[in-house]
C-alpha cells in the first residue's frame, strides 16, 4: 500500500479561502486529512479588547464575509445583553427580516459554490449569485452598503427601513421561492449530481453530536437543534420556525437542508413583513457616540443562529471596552469535522464534502 500525499491549498480553487489540507491517498481513497488553518488569522478577539464597544462591529462582521450582518447582530446582541438594553418591537421586526434575507443570501452562495465544487461549469453558481445579488440589492437599499453593513446599533438599527422596502422584499422573495423549485429540479434531476452527492461524506447522528458540528450540518444528520427554535430571540418567539432536518447526513442532505431553509426563511419573512406595519417603537437605536453607556452585566452569553450554524458570544464587559470577547464560530467546528467525514471518501468527493460543509475561512481563523 503506497500512500500518496497531496497538498491541497493554501491556494486552491475549491477550498474557499486560504486553508491547506494535507490529504493522504491510498489509490483514490482518502486515508487521512490534516487541515492546516490560520492563514487568515486576524486576531479579532484580541482587537476587540482594544476598541470601544461600537467600534468592533466593522471587525466582527468581517469574520464571516458571506453573511456579515449575522455576526454583526450576534455581537451587538451580546453588548445589548451586557448593557441591559432591549431593542424595540419594530427594531426586532427589522432585524428578523434582514437576518433572514442575509441567511438566504448566504445559503444561495453556499449552494452555488457546492455545485461548482462538484464540477459544474459555474452555471448554478452564477444563477445562485444572480439571485443572491437581488437579495444584496435589498440589503443595500436598507443599509446603504452592499457587503459590510454596520447597521446594528444598541437597541435598534442605524436607520429605519425605506418606505417601499416591504414591497420590494415581497417581490424578491416570491421570485426566490420560485427559483428554489427550479434549482432543486435542475440539480436533482441530474443523475450525475445525485450520484456525486447521495451516500457521500456520511456523518451519522451520534458522530455529529460528538464532533460538535452545528447549523445545517448538524440538522442534516438528523439532530433537530436550531437556536431560533430552541432559544428563540427577536420575532422567532412569535413566529415559530421549523427546524429543517434530514436523516441521512450525507452531502445531499446538507445541500437539501439549505434549500429547505431558504424556503423556511421566505415563509418567516412573509410573516414578519405582515407584522412590520403594525409594530410599535422606534427603529433607530442609540446613535454611536464617543462614550457608550456602562454595562450592567459582567458576563453575558448570547446565542444566535448564523447561516453557518450557532454562534455563541461570550462577552466579559469592561467600562468602555470588552474585557474579553470569545467567539464560538460555526465554521471552525464544522471544519474540525472534515477529517472524520472524508475518511474513506474518494479524492474527487473531498471537494464536494468541503463545499457541503460550507465554511468561511475568515470565520474559522478569526
Amino acid at each position: 500500500m503506497t500512500i500518496t500525499r497531496i497538498n491541497v491549498g493554501p491556494v486552491h480553487p475549491s477550498t474557499g479561502g486560504v486553508v491547506r489540507f494535507v490529504v493522504d491517498l491510498d489509490g483514490d481513497t482518502i486515508v487521512n486529512v490534516e487541515p492546516h488553518i490560520g492563514f487568515l488569522h486576524r486576531g479579532v478577539e484580541k482587537l476587540a479588547e482594544t476598541r470601544m464597544y461600537m467600534q468592533i462591529p466593522p471587525y466582527t462582521e468581517k469574520l464571516d464575509y458571506v453573511a456579515p450582518m449575522a455576526y454583526n447582530d450576534a455581537y451587538v446582541g451580546a453588548v445589548e445583553a451586557a448593557m441591559g438594553i432591549e431593542p424595540s418591537e419594530r427594531a426586532k421586526h427589522i432585524r428578523t427580516i434582514l437576518l433572514e434575507l442575509q441567511r438566504i443570501a448566504s445559503h444561495l452562495f453556499s449552494i452555488g459554490l457546492l455545485s461548482n465544487d462538484i464540477g459544474q461549469m459555474f452555471t448554478v453558481f452564477m444563477w445562485a449569485f444572480k439571485d443572491r445579488d437581488m437579495v444584496l440589492d435589498l440589503l443595500q437599499e436598507a443599509t446603504g452598503s452592499r457587503m459590510f453593513y454596520v447597521n446594528m446599533r444598541l437597541g435598534g438599527m442605524q436607520r429605519d427601513l425605506p418606505p417601499d422596502f416591504a414591497d420590494h422584499t415581497l417581490d424578491t422573495i416570491k421570485y426566490i421561492e420560485k427559483r428554489m423549485f427550479e434549482y432543486a429540479k435542475y440539480m436533482e434531476k441530474n443523475p450525475v449530481f445525485t450520484e456525486r452527492m447521495k451516500g457521500v461524506g456520511i456523518l451519522s447522528r451520534e458522530q455529529a453530536k460528538e464532533l460538535g458540528v452545528t447549523g445545517p450540518v448538524l440538522r442534516a444528520s438528523g439532530v433537530s437543534y436550531d437556536v431560533r427554535k430552541n432559544n428563540p430571540y427577536y420575532m422567532y418567539e412569535k413566529y415559530h420556525i421549523n427546524a429543517k432536518t434530514m436523516q441521512t447526513g450525507d452531502n445531499f442532505a446538507r445541500y437539501k437542508v439549505r434549500i429547505l431553509e431558504i424556503q423556511e426563511s421566505v415563509r418567516i419573512i412573509k410573516l414578519v413583513l405582515k407584522g412590520l406595519a403594525g409594530s410599535e417603537g422606534k427603529a433607530e437605536g442609540m446613535p454611536v457616540k464617543l462614550r457608550s453607556p456602562n454595562p450592567v452585566n459582567r458576563i453575558s452569553i448570547v446565542r444566535r443562529e448564523l447561516p453557518r450554524g450557532e454562534c455563541t458570544m461570550y462577552l466579559v464587559a469592561d467600562s468602555q471596552k470588552p474585557y474579553r470577547l470569545s467567539i464560538r464560530s460555526p465554521s471552525f467546528i464544522n471544519l474540525a469535522a472534515v477529517s472524520h467525514i472524508s475518511k474513506g471518501a474518494r479524492f474527487a468527493d473531498f471537494f464536494g464534502i468541503l463545499g457541503s460543509l460550507d465554511f468561511v475561512i475568515g470565520c474559522v481563523d478569526r
Binding site: D28, G119, Q120, T123, M126, K130, V192, A348
Partner: protein, 341 residues
C-alpha cells in the same frame, strides 16, 4: 457539378495544369494542409468564442463584449497575453517528454484534419481505411496527455494524467464497436464511402442507440464535461496542465476547442450524412452543410457542458462498462440482424 469538382480539386495543382506529376501532388497536399489548418484554426477559435458566449448566456451574463464586435477578438487578446508570458519548465519535470507532448498532440490533430473529407473530393488524402486511422490517432492522444501530465512532476498533473488513461480504458471499446457496426453496414472503412452510403437515410436514424453511445463516448474521448476529469479545475487546479507554461497552455486551450470541432465534424460525417442534404437544399455548396451540422453539434456539446456536473472516475468506468459496452454490442447485433444479415 463543375463547382463541386473545382472545390474538390482546388489544391490539386496537377488538375489545373493538366498533369498528374507526383511532385505537383505533394506540393498540392502541403498547400492543402496549410490552408485547411488555417481554416480549422479559425473555426477552433470561433468555437472558443462561441463557448464563452453561450455559457455566459446560460449563466445570465453577457460574455465577452468589448474586444471586437460582440467580443469576437477577446480570445485573440487572451491568446496574445498568454503567448507573451514566460515559458517556464519545472525542474522536477522530464523536460523533453514534457516539452514534446503538446506539440505532438497538435501535429496528430492536424493529421486527423488531413484525413477527413469535407465535401466531395475535398480531402487531403483518400485512404480505404481512413476511419480506422482516425480512431487510432484519437485513441493515441490520451497517451500523449498522460506523458505530458506525468512528466510534469506535479502530483495534480499526474492524477489528471492517470484519469485520462483510465477514461480511455472505459470508452475505447464502445467507440470501436459502434464504428464496427457502421463499417459492417457500409462495407467500407473509407470515410467518403460512409458519407455516400447515407444518401437515403442518415445513420442516426438507422442506429439511434449507436449514435447516443457514440456521442457520449466522443465526449469522453475528447474529455468534454461531464468527463473532463483530466483537467477538473475545481479538484485538480488544472489537472495535466497544472505545470504547463502559459504559451503551451494557450496551445492546449486552442487544441481543446479545435478537437471539439473535429469531434463534431466526425459525428456529422458518421451519423448526419456529412455534406449530404435533401436535393432541394443542394443549391448551397456542400461545404456549408457539413460546417453547419458540425456547428449545431458543437452548440449541443457546449450546452451539455453548461448543464452537467463532473462525474467521478469510478462512476465513469462503471457507466462505460455496465451500460455502454453491452449497449454497443446490442447495437452491433441489431444492425447485423436488421440490415446486413
Amino acid at each position: 457539378m463543375p463547382i463541386q469538382d473545382a472545390i474538390g480539386n482546388i489544391f490539386n495543382i496537377g488538375y489545373w495544369l493538366g498533369t498528374g506529376n507526383l511532385l505537383y501532388q505533394v506540393i498540392g497536399i502541403i498547400i492543402y494542409i496549410i490552408v485547411v489548418s488555417i481554416v480549422f484554426s479559425i473555426f477552433g477559435y470561433m468555437m472558443g468564442w462561441l463557448e464563452r458566449k453561450l455559457i455566459a448566456r446560460a449563466q445570465y451574463r453577457h460574455g465577452p463584449t468589448y474586444v471586437g464586435m460582440w467580443g469576437l477578438l477577446q480570445n485573440l487578446a487572451d491568446m496574445i497575453k498568454l503567448l507573451s508570458k514566460q515559458d517556464v519548465i519545472p525542474t522536477n519535470s522530464d523536460r523533453y517528454l514534457f516539452g514534446a507532448s503538446l506539440p505532438l498532440i497538435l501535429a496528430l490533430s492536424i493529421f486527423i484534419i488531413l484525413l477527413l473529407p469535407y465535401s466531395p473530393g475535398l480531402q487531403g488524402t483518400t485512404l480505404g481505411f481512413g476511419l480506422l486511422i482516425v480512431f487510432t490517432i484519437i485513441s493515441f492522444l490520451p497517451l500523449l496527455i498522460f506523458t505530458s501530465g506525468f512528466s510534469s512532476g506535479n502530483k495534480f498533473g499526474a492524477v489528471g494524467a492517470q484519469r485520462s488513461v483510465l477514461i480511455l480504458l472505459g470508452y475505447e471499446i464502445p467507440v470501436l464497436l459502434v464504428i464496427a457496426a457502421i463499417a459492417m453496414f457500409t462495407g467500407t472503412y473509407n470515410l467518403n464511402g460512409i458519407v455516400n452510403a447515407q444518401q437515403s437515410n442518415y445513420f442516426v436514424l438507422i442506429m439511434p442507440i449507436g449514435f447516443v453511445i457514440f456521442f457520449i463516448a466522443m465526449l469522453a474521448e475528447f474529455e468534454r464535461p461531464p468527463f473532463d476529469l483530466r483537467e477538473a479545475d475545481s479538484e485538480l487546479v488544472a489537472g495535466w496542465l497544472t505545470d504547463v507554461s502559459p504559451p503551451y497552455y494557450a496551445l492546449a486551450l486552442f487544441l481543446d476547442y479545435a478537437r471539439m470541432f473535429l469531434g463534431s465534424i466526425l459525428i456529422a460525417i458518421l451519423f448526419f450524412g456529412g455534406w449530404l442534404v435533401p436535393s432541394y437544399l443542394s443549391f448551397i455548396p456542400a461545404l456549408f452543410w457539413i460546417i453547419l451540422k458540425a456547428f449545431i453539434i458543437s452548440v449541443f456539446i457546449i450546452m451539455v457542458r453548461a448543464t452537467t456536473f463532473r462525474m467521478r472516475i469510478d462512476g465513469i468506468l462503471r457507466f462505460g462498462w455496465i451500460w455502454l459496452v453491452p449497449l454497443s454490442l446490442i447495437n452491433l447485433i441489431i444492425t447485423y440482424i436488421l440490415f446486413v444479415g
